[in-house]
């Protein structure tokens, strides 16, 4: 059924066992994003090391399984990569989410985030998936302007 294509095992797994959750020091930028339609919110910090390498993405917040799992997957994908690499993943993820289910996901770029492909068919839930990723993009931009 439709629901099962959205609630992939990987998403449920990340929701039940979120990776990297909790706000940590040190960090270069902190942002707070909310989804006014459902009240989901996230506070997210990034720590950028030498040579533009993301040393940590830490976060805390509340929301549905999609928004919480997306933050967990983001933490895994971003930590250890360069800012540039992560931003291209964010772009690909955004393209997938806004593609109304018509966009072919690039698994090589997205890794585990490809599990969210089913969410794109539910316009009301796309913002849930994007909440932490947009917060991350914002935080990275702010860290660069410091």
């Amino acid at each position: 059924m439709i629901g099962e294509s959205m609630y992939q095992e990987l998403i449920l797994e990340h929701y039940k066992h979120p990776q990297g959750r909790g706000l940590r020091e040190p960090y270069d930028a902190e942002v707070h994003h909310v989804n006014p339609t459902c009240g989901d919110e996230i506070t997210l910090r990034v720590r950028v090391g030498d040579a533009g390498k993301i040393e940590d993405v830490s976060y805390d917040g509340q929301g549905c399984s999609i928004s919480q799992a997306a933050a967990s997957v983001l933490h895994e994908l971003a930590t250890g990569s360069t800012v540039e690499e992560t931003l291209s993943v964010v772009d690909e993820f955004t393209r997938l989410m806004q593609g109304r289910g018509q966009v072919e996901a690039d698994e090589e770029v997205l890794g585990d985030a490809v599990a969210f492909a089913g969410v794109a068919k539910f316009p009301a839930r796309v913002k849930c998936a994007l909440l932490s990723w947009m917060a991350y993009k914002d935080a990275v931009v702010r860290s660069a302007s410091r």
Partner: protein
């Protein structure tokens, strides 16, 4: 379990949508009537017939269609007046929805501050030191118009609290409603809790201090016999789409002499008596408050909805929903980790049940109920964010019943909730 006076299977046949199939072969289980109700065939047919054969503008066209359209529109007003026991048909103002009705009344306050030409009625004079009272359980449509009003006038907004079991907290009634209070505006029935509020107690205190009383009856008029004259309040707002009618049509009932004393809301065609270049005079009520071409077909459709509800009988509708609510309260109690937000007893409550499931976000609950079982509920804060903050939760799942719902659908909801819990176990 069937009601003695309402044949639900026969009623369901009047609602074409209830027999449609959803994508994937699911059957529709519609438990979202508190959000918007479905429409019976007579309403659909009346709207179609009017659009196809009788449509013209109202109140001005000098031809057969104009006359037929005006007759249909105005007879809808008669039906609405009779339905809610309005002493006069002219006290029934057609608006776009309940929100517009609430805004219309809020707009009447404080005209002395922006220099209206007529001498302002002191009951509507509002400024610093004056107070308006609402409650924590209000829908945003009974909050924001008053917030805007106090911003314009410098008046103060005060709130009744809500008790832990979801009742209006009147323990400090005399402290909250004082001789500075100009109007008290509360929900007749909460759109989240299902609570039916004790209007008489609030009204008694308001009368002592000379304050007006308004009810947001959006959730009561569709589900219970409501008589505005017996209620004894000053204003009642409700909306057509929650009572089997089309969207785009709502009603403000107000006591005639108050409506006469109020300034117009929107200016435009049909609300005037005469217009000069330097000023205008206004039409008598109800037209004073109906600027521009009104929602003609929507009003006619709402008239048909009222006919339908009266055919079934509002006592029967109320009794049927009461049975469903009793059944659902018992059934939901068996779901582990379910926290009901609202009264757990049948006393003074309607068929709206909001709840949380431990560890599972309402959006996930609603999504799985819909995707896998075709069960339509509402999830979120239901336009009552202060109430959710009061209970320390961001959102709830809400099931709301109407005359076409069955105990079998309550069973489907409970099965669905058990499945949701399995997915997230």
């Amino acid at each position: 379990m069937t009601s003695t006076s309402l044949d639900v299977e026969r009623i369901r046949k009047d609602f074409p949508v209830l027999s449609r199939e959803l994508p994937g072969g699911r059957r529709l289980v519609y438990l979202d009537s508190g959000n918007s109700s479905q429409k019976p065939a007579p309403v659909v047919e009346t709207v179609r017939e009017h659009l196809a054969m009788h449509y013209g503008n109202v109140g001005r066209a000098m031809h057969v269609l104009g006359a037929e359209s005006t007759e249909a529109y105005e007879s809808a007003r008669d039906k609405l007046a009779a339905f809610v026991g309005a002493p006069s048909r002219d006290e029934v103002i057609f608006t776009k929805n309940a929100s517009e009705a609430l805004n219309l009344v809020a707009h009447a306050f404080g005209p002395h501050l922006w220099g209206a030409t007529e001498a302002a009625d002191p009951r509507f004079a509002l400024g610093p030191g004056d107070e308006i009272v609402i409650s924590e359980m209000e829908h945003h449509s009974n909050i924001v118009p008053w917030q805007l009003l106090v911003q314009r006038t410098g008046a103060t907004l005060k709130w009744f609290g809500v008790t832990d079991d979801g009742r209006l907290d009147l323990s400090e009634l005399d402290r909250i409603v004082t001789d500075r209070t100009k109007i008290v505006s509360i929900a007749h029935q909460s759109n989240v809790l299902g609570t039916v509020n004790p209007v008489a107690a609030v009204l008694r205190r308001a009368r002592e201090v000379g304050a007006l009383v308004m009810l947001d009856a959006s959730q009561s008029v569709p589900h219970h016999p409501v008589n505005v004259a017996e209620l004894g309040v000053d204003f009642v707002a409700f909306t057509g789409h929650k009572m089997l009618g089309p969207s785009g049509i709502g009603v403000l009932w107000g006591r005639g002499e108050l409506l006469e004393a109020m300034p117009p809301f929107l200016g435009g065609g049909e609300m005037i008596e005469a217009v000069w270049m330097d000023h205008s005079t206004y039409a008598p009520i109800p037209h004073k408050f109906e600027a521009g071409t009104p929602p003609i077909v929507e009003a006619v459709g709402l008239g048909a909805a009222v006919d339908y509800l009266q055919g079934v009988g509002m006592d029967a509708v109320e009794a049927h929903e009461r049975e469903l609510t009793a059944y659902a309260l018992d059934a939901l109690r068996e779901v582990p980790g379910l926290r009901l937000i609202g009264p757990a007893s049948l006393e003074q409550r309607g068929g709206t049940l909001s709840f949380t499931l431990e560890g599972i976000h309402p959006h996930d609950v609603g999504q799985i109920l819909d995707d896998e079982f075709g069960i339509a509920v509402r999830v979120g804060h239901h336009c009552a964010r202060p109430l959710h903050l009061r209970f320390g939760i961001p959102a709830t799942t809400r099931a709301s019943f109407y005359l076409y719902n069955t105990t079998g659908e309550v069973d489907a909801l409970v099965r669905g909730l058990h499945h949701v819990q399995k997915v997230f176990a």
